[in-house]
Symmetry: C2
Subunit: 219 residues, 2 copies
């Protein structure tokens, strides 16, 4: 990689550094605002105020409000991708979901953004519709792949492929739903309820009882 400051034998004192930092600040602020108010109701003004610039600066950076949404979604995806280790396979993938929920509990904005945009993009003309749908397809097919792997390796009981998809879909549905309940009532023992239910899925798939956590959600 060539350092941008040395291109053309002339040292360019960088406005770039500031621009990149600003861009990141804006995306983070926009994520918060879209998470709280949705894309339609969240305003550029609000985001600009949080960052400490004017709304005009935002459209300058991202072209339009939808451009900003795209940047937020890309950022979200990249974050999520970077977070899950690539060497986890089969049943371990599902055991790890407990960590994902733990992470979400500590980063409320993430799950808020996901659920808010998901519900909102239910509408056919929502700009994030395709993104949400593709993401769900990806998540489900990843889950299916891992459960199939576990089955073929003999770690899980035999399940027909259609049943595997139904199992994976209902597991992720439960995960989303519990997180929604937690958003509505933060007093809920999110990790406890989730990991117990997760344990029931693992128990059913493997026949092993040692995968069901205690009632406090600890192993």
């Amino acid at each position: 990689m060539v350092d941008a400051q040395e291109i053309g034998a002339k040292v360019v004192r960088g406005p770039y550094q500031n621009g990149i930092r600003r861009r990141r600040e804006i995306i983070e602020s926009a994520s918060r605002v879209f998470a709280s108010y949705g894309f339609v109701s969240g305003s550029l003004r609000q985001i600009a105020e949080e960052v400490g610039v004017t709304p005009a600066a935002l459209t300058r950076h991202f072209g339009s409000k939808e451009g900003l949404l795209s940047a937020v979604l890309e950022n979200w995806d990249a974050d999520a991708e970077a977070r899950n280790p690539p060497d986890v396979h089969g049943l371990d993938y599902f055991v790890r979901l407990r960590d994902a929920v733990l992470y979400n509990q500590a980063h409320r904005g993430l799950i808020e953004l996901f659920l808010t945009l998901s519900a909102e993009s239910t509408h056919p003309e929502h700009p994030a519709r395709q993104f949400v749908r593709n993401r769900y397809d990806r998540v489900v097919s990843t889950g299916v792949q891992h459960l199939r792997e576990a089955r073929d390796a003999g770690d899980a009981v035999w399940l027909a492929d259609e049943l595997i998809e139904a199992e994976v879909r209902s597991l992720f549905a439960m995960m989303d739903g519990v997180q929604l309940q937690w958003l509505i009532d933060p007093g809920l023992d999110l990790v406890g309820v989730f990991s117990r239910a997760l344990g029931q899925y693992l128990h059913r798939w493997t026949g092993r009882a040692d995968l069901v956590p205690g009632q406090d959600g600890q192993d």
Copy 2:
């Protein structure tokens, strides 16, 4: 009941009838709009246009936009209340959930309204926040009550009360989540995925295998 038209021995040609019908039309239209766009983004203009009146007529009827939301929520609650038969107890209550999902599938607006408002009211200052939270508490405690009843009658295995609440919460979470997936991708076999997952809960609670439906979701 006294007929309003006969009060005071004089026949009053009723503007009431029209008013009541209008009111119902407005509430139905508002339910659709709030379901599609959420409360914050859904506009009085849009609703007024659907009904064929001006926005001023709406604020005349309901005082404010929030007043209209209250009417929508009350209407929704009353509908739901009227729909579930009161003589269903214990395990039957959960078996009936399959019918509820079937009904929701045929009335997409209902589940759309619920999920849209739930996600939206995640925000502390949303006017429907308390309503959504109370409704969830009611749903969960009703479920807990029925499962406890089943347990005490010997229809379900013994489960500690805290475990019962976790089971009920994860079941309703799964139900919401599957419905969300269906809203995002209407091609999904909603009833199939749900009733299979429901069957797994019933199977776990009772030990009976005959409660798990076939892979096509039929009994």
